[in-house]
Amino acid sequence: MDLLIPGEGLIIWQLIIFVLLFLLLSQLAWKPIISSLKERERSIQDALDTAEKARLEMSQLRSDNEKLLKEAREERDRILREAREVSNRMKDDAQAEAKKTADRIIEDAKAAINVEKQAALKEVKIQVAMFSLDIAEKLMKKNLSSDKAQKDLVESYVKDLKTN
């Protein structure tokens, strides 16, 4: 039965020692232990978070790169296409321009030729008329050198007049 009755001395000693032990251990052991454990868990968590963030950034970067590359490729294609269009257009324009110029030159030439032709014809006509007059003058001089010829001619004129 003594086993079941707590001894008063031991109760007091246990109370004093346990409370002292609690206070001492709280200060000397549990405080540094608990805070270090917490600190360590926090730093591990931080490291994990940072790694995860870096991983995300990495993949972000990669996709960014791909996007940039794609954009660059598209840009290149666009520029090439535009350049081709521009060159085509320029070629067409040049062709058209050349044709137009050629046409105009031909036109001008034709006009010039016409003018020259007219001038030449006029000259020829004048020359021919001069020649005719000279010939006629010479003929007349020769044919009417006698009085009979002059008389005959007058007679033919008068004849003509009469018939008219």
């Binding site: 001395g9 109760i11 346990f18 032990l21 609690f22 251990l25 709280s26 052991a29 232990i33």
Partner: protein, 347 residues
């Protein structure tokens, strides 16, 4: 939970391998010296080993007994301090000293039945000092290691105890007390390791049965009781005195039950630890006594093997009881500080 038993059983196996040899040697050694003496009284021997004493008897012979100091107070004679050696004459018979008499380990004023107030450094008090000193030694070293190894991996003793500290924090205290567990963590850790170390030290041959003493478990239970009720919130007390959501006549019946419940919790803590540890000691001692009862070496050998296995179980029990005491303390505190608002919706 399984992980914990695994851990404990691995740990206990290690310790048993260390101590089992000592146990059997001890049993045989005392067998040799006790045998020719008067008729052997097993229950007396066992109770003597399990209970507190004013001397620390390690082995028979001249220097085998440590006489511990006696500190007594009585209104008649005031405070007195003297060695318990004074109660024994040279033939180891109990005699009166200076007006005090020792009867069944209790000190009375000589010639009367008036018990004096006994603050002696008894075997258990000495054991308590040893336990506390060991705890201080171990955990201040570990605390220092944490400061020294800040930001590094734990090493040595620190790495051995860290999983146990983490177990107490993460498996026992945190889930049972809830988000405000940190306030109670130092107490719970002290409680757990005090009981664990006390239980393990108590298994050493010649050691005192500290955590199997009802005075010790009484104090531990009272501390948990005080902490629980001091921290109890409005919800906790309203549940006790005016359980919400229960019909009025039932509340009147529940009230005394709840009030009794306040006290049965610490009593169950006190009795559980005391019984578990004392019973273990009694079983081991009974097995040792078998050899002396039957005066047989063969039975001694057989019971030594039995003791080996019981010791294994005892090591398991040492861990489990420390765990259970801390677990239930956490549970009671957790119940007292939990938020009860949601209960009204339930009923």
């Amino acid at each position: 939970m399984t992980a914990f038993f695994n851990k404990i059983s691995r740990f206990s196996l290690l310790l048993t391998l260390l101590f089992a040899g000592v146990f059997s040697v001890d049993a045989k050694a005392s067998g040799d010296s006790d045998e020719p003496q008067e008729k052997f009284n097993a229950s007396e021997v066992i109770l003597h080993h399990v209970m507190d004493d004013h001397v620390w008897h390690l082995w028979d012979g001249h220097y085998g007994t440590i006489f511990l100091p006696v500190i007594v107070y009585s209104s008649e004679k005031g405070l007195d301090v003297f060695s318990s050696k004074n109660f024994y004459d040279e033939h180891h018979n109990i005699v009166d000293y200076n007006g005090y008499s020792l009867q069944h380990n209790k000190i009375y004023l000589a010639g009367t039945h008036d018990k004096v107030f006994d603050l002696s450094i008894t075997k258990n008090v000495a054991m308590l000092f040893i336990n506390a000193a060991l705890l201080l030694l171990v955990f201040t070293a570990v605390g220092k290691a944490y400061k020294k190894n800040a930001g590094k991996a734990p090493s040595g003793l620190q790495s051995f105890l860290e999983p146990i500290i983490l177990f107490v924090r993460d498996e026992v205290v945190k889930p049972n007390i809830g988000p405000r567990y940190e306030k109670f963590l130092p107490y719970m850790l002290t409680l757990f390791f005090f009981i664990l170390f006390g239980n393990l030290l108590g298994l050493l041959p010649g050691a005192a049965n500290l955590t199997g003493n009802i005075a010790v478990t009484f104090v531990l239970a009272i501390l948990t009781f005080i902490i629980t009720n001091v921290n109890g919130n409005k919800g906790y007390w309203s549940h006790i005195f005016w359980t919400p959501g229960v019909p009025l006549p039932l509340r009147i019946i529940i009230l005394p039950v709840e009030i009794i419940g306040i006290f049965t919790k610490p009593i169950s803590l006190m009795v559980r630890l005391f019984v578990a540890i004392t019973a273990g000691h009694i079983v081991i001692l009974s097995l040792i006594c078998l050899a002396f009862i039957f005066h047989s070496v063969w039975i001694g050998a057989g019971s030594s093997i039995m003791i080996l296995f019981i010791s294994l179980i005892e090591l398991l029990v040492a861990g489990i009881q420390a765990y259970v005491f801390t677990l239930f303390s956490s549970l009671y505190i957790g119940m007292a500080i939990a938020d009860h608002e949601h209960h009204d919706d339930h009923h």
